[in-house]
């Protein structure tokens, strides 16, 4: 059994170690000769790079908006889903489909819906919307908004399912007792449901963080490969794949780690997996 555990760790430890090593060299798939150790030079350059700070700000904004939206939607939907009804099967399908459907494909459908690139029957209409939004928020805003919409659409329903599992884990007696003690549904929600759901919400937030980081494919597609609003992950990918600057790409990616670690620490104060007592 233990070898299996070691395998799991090895699978993850090796790439991380590789990445750290790469970020300390000038590794590039296009350079002649082997990589040369350069110490922390990559990090130094990164910190001086305004493009990086812009990407970071965009990433954080993107995270904050989508995560909040997903959480609010998710809680609402979970509460609705918790109620038994005859339409439950249909609703569950609606919840699972966006998430189960290949993201690479649905993103095209969204692209087609929101930014029709050809003269189609409704391009004029969507074009007007785009110009209106870009006019207010600056060029590329509509595209970026599309990315967020897409991420919320795809992730919101998963958050709902996740929180539903959390709701189901709360003993019903607690809700029943709350009915005896509180006057309004809103009171009950704030005093009982929300605090009990908090650990699951923390976990959902973290999952949303990581998927949002990972959603570079979505951004890539929706903005048609043009980077107007850079997101850290997207740019790293672009560096690695399009220009072969693996060392720089590794540096960009690793720059996310402190952020993630911070998120983890904050959220784990809420949700502690150590709580499980060994049998």
């Amino acid at each position: 059994m233990a070898p299996a555990g070691a395998l799991v760790l090895g699978i993850l430890a090796y790439p991380v170690a590789w990445e750290i090593w790469a970020s300390l060299t000038d590794f590039s798939s296009r350079a002649e000769g082997g990589p040369v150790f350069v110490g922390l030079a990559n990090y130094g350059r990164l910190l001086g790079d305004t493009w990086f700070w812009k990407a970071l700000a965009t990433t954080l904004g993107y995270l904050a908006v989508t995560t909040t939206a997903k959480l609010v939607l998710g809680v609402g939907m979970a509460l609705l889903l918790a109620r038994p009804s005859r339409l439950r099967a249909l609703v569950f399908l609606a919840v699972f489909l966006p998430w189960a459907y290949p993201g690479g494909i649905t993103v095209i459908a969204w692209y087609w819906m929101l930014n029709p690139p050809l003269i189609t029957s409704y391009s004029v209409f969507m074009g007007n919307v785009k110009h209106a939004v870009d006019g207010v928020l600056g060029a590329g805003a509509w595209a970026f908004l599309s990315v967020m919409l897409f991420n919320v659409w795809r992730g919101g329903s998963f958050t709902a399912v996740f929180l539903l599992a959390g709701l189901n884990a709360i003993p019903t007696e607690l809700f029943e007792y709350a009915r005896l003690e509180s006057r309004s549904a809103w009171q009950r929600f704030r005093a009982v449901t929300l605090p009990l759901l908090a650990p699951y919400m923390a976990l959902a937030v973290f999952l949303s963080f990581t998927t949002a980081f990972a959603d570079l494919g979505n951004v890539w597609m929706l903005t048609g490969g043009r980077i107007i609003f850079p997101v850290v992950g997207t740019y790293a990918y672009w560096l690695a794949v399009k220009s072969g600057q693996l060392a720089e790409a590794a540096t960009w990616t690793l720059a996310l780690v402190p952020l993630l670690a911070l998120g983890l620490v904050v959220l784990f104060r809420w949700f502690d997996p150590h709580e499980e007592t060994p049998a």
Partner: protein
């Protein structure tokens, strides 16, 4: 159910539910309409009197025919299926053993190991992407299905392990002890008693792994280059968009067809999936 006024039920339950369902499913409806809309209608002017953006009067299967005849779509389907099944099986196998070990065996660091596996699941795949690309290049696996079959488990195994570990914890350990007294070895008790009971958990982990592999886009885009080796998500996107020309009808037809297996798997196993998820979270 709790007694409630009827208008309240509508305002706080049915209407939000309807808005949600329509909002979620609308993109799929749009895909479907695009896929069966004749080209002439697709490119008709917004102001044309006959414009019907939300439905079509002359549904056609032309795009589906083109997809089958003019592209290697059936081939993509097979590739995706093969890759998804293989990587799911590998991940499930490792996840079962590792999950069981972490849930049951008391060895030093078991707790820490469990937590770190959970944490690694949360590590963004971006972090793993670049080194994996390097490994694939070194082993010259590029443009073969093995490139994906071996890389997908990097994110599938931690998830399967975590989910199954949670599920195993919900199974009383007495069942296993009883089996061992009844004459089974530890391994026998695991395979004859624990695994059969864990079927809902195993299924949901399997479904999850299968879906993720089927849908995976980035690795498939980078590691596979020849058209006949591609998977559905990549094939549809890269072969049906040529430069600035989008074959919208075929694209949407491919999107619909290519995801039928996943949709089917889900509709069959939704209940199992939900119990699996709930069980593991409770554990």
């Amino acid at each position: 159910m709790v007694i409630e006024k009827r208008w309240k039920t509508w305002v706080f339950f049915y209407i939000p539910l309807a808005v949600f369902v329509v909002g979620t499913l609308f993109p799929f409806y749009w895909m479907l309409i695009t896929a069966i809309r004749p080209d002439a209608e697709l490119y008709r002017s917004w102001r044309a009197a006959t414009n019907t953006p939300f439905w079509t009067l002359q549904p056609t299967l032309e795009h589906f025919r083109d997809l089958m005849a003019k592209t290697t779509f059936p081939r993509w389907l097979w590739n995706t299926f093969f890759i998804a099944v293989a990587s799911t099986l590998i991940s499930l196998f490792c996840g079962l053993l590792a999950g069981y070990a972490l849930a049951r065996l008391r060895f030093p660091m078991a707790g820490t190991l469990g937590t770190s596996i959970f944490v690694t699941y949360l590590v963004p795949p971006t972090l793993l992407f670049i080194p994996l690309a390097d490994i694939i290049r070194n082993f010259q696996l590029g443009n073969t299905p093995w490139a994906l079959i071996l890389t997908y488990p990097t994110f599938l195994i931690p998830f399967c392990t975590w989910l199954l570990m949670g599920y195993f914890k919900t199974i009383p350990k007495e069942l296993e002890e009883c089996a061992r007294i009844d004459g089974a070895t530890r391994f026998g008790a695991m395979t004859r008693i624990i695994f059969p009971i864990a079927v809902p958990g195993i299924l949901s982990a399997g479904i999850f792994a299968f879906t993720l592999s089927w849908n995976e886009f980035i690795y498939a885009l980078v590691f596979l280059s020849s058209p006949e080796r591609k998977t559905v998500p990549v094939g549809v996107v890269s072969e049906l968009i040529r430069g600035d020309i989008y074959f919208w009808g075929q694209l949407m037809a491919g999107a619909l067809l290519g995801s039928i297996p996943v949709a089917l798997v889900y509709s069959f196993f939704v209940e199992y999936y939900v119990t699996g998820l709930t069980g593991s979270v409770k554990g």
